[in-house]
Amino acid sequence: MENILTLMIFLPLVGALLIGIIRSPQASKIISLVFSFVTFLLSLVLLANFDFNKEGFQFVKKINWINSLGISYHVGIDGMALLLIVMTTFLFFCAFVWSWRIEDRVALYHALFLMLETACIGVFSALDFFLFYIFWEGMLIPMYFIIGFWGHERKVYAANKFFIYTFFGSLFLLLGLATIIVYGVVSKGVFTFDYITHLKYIDYPRWIELLAFLLFGIGFAVKVPMWPFHTWLPDAHVEAPTAGSMILAGVLLKMGTFGFVRYSLGLFPEASEFYIPLIFLLSVIAIIYAAMMAIAQTHIKRLIAYSSISHMGIVTLGTFALTEEGINGAIYMMIAHGLSSAALFMGAGFIYDRIHSYEIKNLGGLARYVPVFAVLFMISGLASIGLPGLAGFVAEFLVLLGTYKNHPVWAFIAGTGMILGAAYFLYMYKKVMLEEERISDAVREKWMKLRDVEMHHLIPFVMIIASAFLLGLYPYPFVKIIGHTSQLILGG
């Protein structure tokens, strides 16, 4: 059982190597579908065997790696990591199904995505700082090429911006890691990169906590992205191919929020409390500012990207509310947003596939021509804005509840920001899907022949929407699993 996690991390990489050897387009599609599906099944095995009454990390595996630097191969998961891994493998499988029709450099495309999957699962399961950092950076190269190769017009600019921003954050993260590791050596004489050792046996003095929190925080804030580090995200999303956007919004952004919960809260409880006003301020700015920016957008993907920033603000708000409900809600939001934003980007990708435009002014009244898609897109959007019965509602409710307990004013401001969420989506939907009078007769003629969703669109849509309903209607088991993490953090 303890080897499943390792198997899951490296299985996609094996798939990528296999594709590198075979190189046939058709075979690479099948290989990546099979490998990602098996990985997904394995993650379900983890879910089934996870004991959420037992404290601490589970499925732990530890092997010595570089003794003189105190580095080991150490993996294990808690409730949050478990759910994020399940979501990751699920979204990757969806992304591969979605990419069934891709024609440009197929083998390379699938190999890069499989490498990305390895890095993503690795980030969520690493319990050693070095291992964590390797996976954290390891995601940079595949994503860089995914945006750079299969992106739209300004892909090079977007890819470079993405790389430089993320690398900027990572360097601060690295300095932060160096700080706490050196403190471990100086205070206890143990040279170790092990997360659990640091969590349990090393208490940092206040000034180290404050410093390291900032250094870690910059690294995570770029990835989340928090205002004012967010400007890479709209560009990256606009230019990325659909599957790339799905993974970027669904999984990569969660690495930052995951880092906040796992590392910032876990290691620096005192500093977390100290920085609450700062984080709250940035979160609320992100929620409201990004939502307003979203309303002003004319480009569907840019709009969804800003909505992501807004939702990530909710996550950081809940995380630093430092109440059980708040953290539960934040983690719930990570999952809910992962699903709904992936679905929204699939919607945008579908529109682009059919109409070859993301600009709202070129679209209108689509619901008549692609009715099935219109329904799916509507549900995805409702999941995103937090309609009761769908995943987003539970998350937003928990976050507001958790924040209201200790910080009612902040909760109130954030709550008004969430209302804007409904505004931008419905506004966009109205223009793109409903307002038929905006399109000319010639276009209407052309659109009569539009094909509605095909199988490779429908499967991921249905899967994601079904899980959004599951999370929205029956949150109990998920909250229970997430509670495993929040109790670990607040209890310790």
Binding site: I134, F167, L174, A178
Partner: protein, 464 residues
């Protein structure tokens, strides 16, 4: 024992090899360069192997020649990288019609000079070794038929090198004045003259490792030299110089209390100047010259303290940096075999579609140079970070981080040209067996030492 053959075993093999190649070149009018470089390769491998048979610590020549574990490790690394250089060298010269047998033994002589330089604690003998290796380098750069710029580069290097020579000599003289011996030992009591001596020694070595403000020769020498020789001067002498720097830092420099400020300032201006100027380059070869200057700054940060961990990280970093740089210049020398190739950025457009193997390898080295895990350079960078933070040199660590962030941009620029742009025409430049071997060894080792740096790291840590 006055003459200890065992202690000088690697140098003996090297000298014998030099003579052998010299005679082979002399006897036959036009001997095949690939055979000579194969002999050079074998000699290097034999010398590298012979380091395992040296019993240390040992001394020879009336204590003028000393070997310890650090020297042996350094020599082995030097010989190994030199052997890789030989593999990648012959095809380039053949296709450029510049087959001089001298090239082979001159490069060997330079390696010999480096190993003499490393195996002494006497400044005079270090000086001789340093000069032997440098003079060989001037010649190796100039040995390029009908190529004006190689002469210019060599001449510039010679003139600047002469400054370094005189600074080293005068530094030695001051040290002798202060402590009454040329052996590197810490003096009793404080003598202001020694600070002068040590400063001159630092400047002399700073010029050799192309640290700002002594870097002016670097871009011209790098760009002018035949590319396989650039591959050599960018890698092997650097390993030697940094091991020497480590030895001097541990044994001599602390007698000058403020030495670390001097080195720290050099390090900071070097990495920023190198990284920022690199953006202005239009030639890829010059770009890598500036990247090498920037790296000299990174490495120097580690020599601001006598901490062994920090020094090990730097030496590890230097070695894996050499591997990556050797790989880069091998790729450039392969491409240069194409007619009319000027190493301009424009020519790299769409390299991925024309020559995927070369482009992927070059991208690997570029990402390694940026310092992305799992490539080995990351481990070195991490070690230096941790070392600097543990010595409470926050500012230096912070500036190091900023500088490496700046560097990402120009490496990425090349990646963009290779992968994300489409170019016209074809590149037919063939890859010889030797170049293939060097390239694969470099890329594999860059990855392996990144994923499993333990053995190499431990060896260096225990040796110094």
């Amino acid at each position: 024992m006055v003459f200890n053959i065992n202690a000088v075993l690697p140098e003996l093999i090297l000298s014998a090899g030099i003579l052998l190649i010299f005679f082979l070149d002399l006897i036959k009018e036009r001997i095949n360069l690939s055979i000579l470089s194969l002999v050079g390769f074998i000699v290097c491998i034999l010398s590298a192997l012979s380091t395992f048979h040296v019993r240390y610590p040992a001394s020879a020549f009336f204590n003028g020649f000393k070997v310890g574990s650090a020297e042996l490790v350094a020599k082995m690394l030097i010989y190994l990288v030199t052997s890789l250089v030989f593999l990648a060298l012959y095809d380039f010269y053949k296709r450029k019609g510049s087959e001089y047998g001298e090239t082979i033994y001159i490069i060997l002589t330079s390696a010999l000079g480096l190993s003499f330089m490393l195996s002494s604690t006497n400044l005079a003998i270090i000086f001789v070794g340093l000069e032997l290796s440098s003079i060989s380098l001037y010649i190796a750069i100039a040995l390029y038929r009908k190529e004006y710029f190689s002469k210019e580069g060599a001449y510039k290097y010679l003139v600047m090198g002469a400054i370094s020579t005189s600074m080293f000599a005068i530094g030695t003289a001051f040290v002798y004045l202060a402590i009454g011996t040329m052996n590197i030992t810490s003096p009793q009591g404080f003598n202001p003259i020694i600070s002068l001596g040590i400063s001159f020694l630092i400047f002399a070595l700073a010029l050799k490792i192309s640290s700002v403000p002594f870097h002016f020769w670097t871009p011209d020498a790098y760009a002018g030299a035949p590319t396989p020789v650039t591959a050599y001067i960018a890698t092997v002498p650097k390993i030697g110089y940094y091991f020497l720097l480590a030895k001097l830092t541990l044994l001599l420099f602390p007698s000058f209390k403020e030495w670390y400020i001097l080195v720290g300032v050099l390090a900071v201006i070097t990495m920023f100047y190198g990284n920022i100027t690199a953006y202005a380059q239009k030639s890829v070869k010059r770009l890598f010259a500036y990247s090498s200057i920037a790296h000299a700054g990174y490495f120097l940060t580690a020599f601001t303290s006598t901490d062994k961990f920090l020094m090990t990280s730097a030496l590890f970093y230097v070695f894996v940096y050499s591997l990556a740089t050797l790989g880069v210049f091998t790729i450039l020398s392969i491409l240069e075999k194409e007619d009319g190739w000027k190493n301009n950025f424009e020519e790299f457009k769409g390299l991925f579609y024309k020559r995927p193997f070369l482009a992927v390898n070059l991208a690997l080295f570029l990402f390694a140079l940026i310092g992305i895990p799992p490539m080995a350079m990351f481990v070195g960078k991490l070690g230096i970070f941790i070392g600097l933070v543990s010595k409470e040199m926050w500012i230096l660590g912070f500036l190091f981080a900023i500088a490496s962030l700046i560097s990402a941009g120009y490496y990425l620029k090349l990646i963009v040209y290779m992968f994300l742009e489409r170019g016209e025409g074809e590149i037919k430049a063939p890859v010889s067996v030797g170049e293939m071997l060097t390239l694969n060894t470099c890329s594999l080792l860059t990855l392996i030492f990144g994923i499993y740096p333990k053995p190499l790291f431990d060896i260096i840590l225990r040796s110094i």
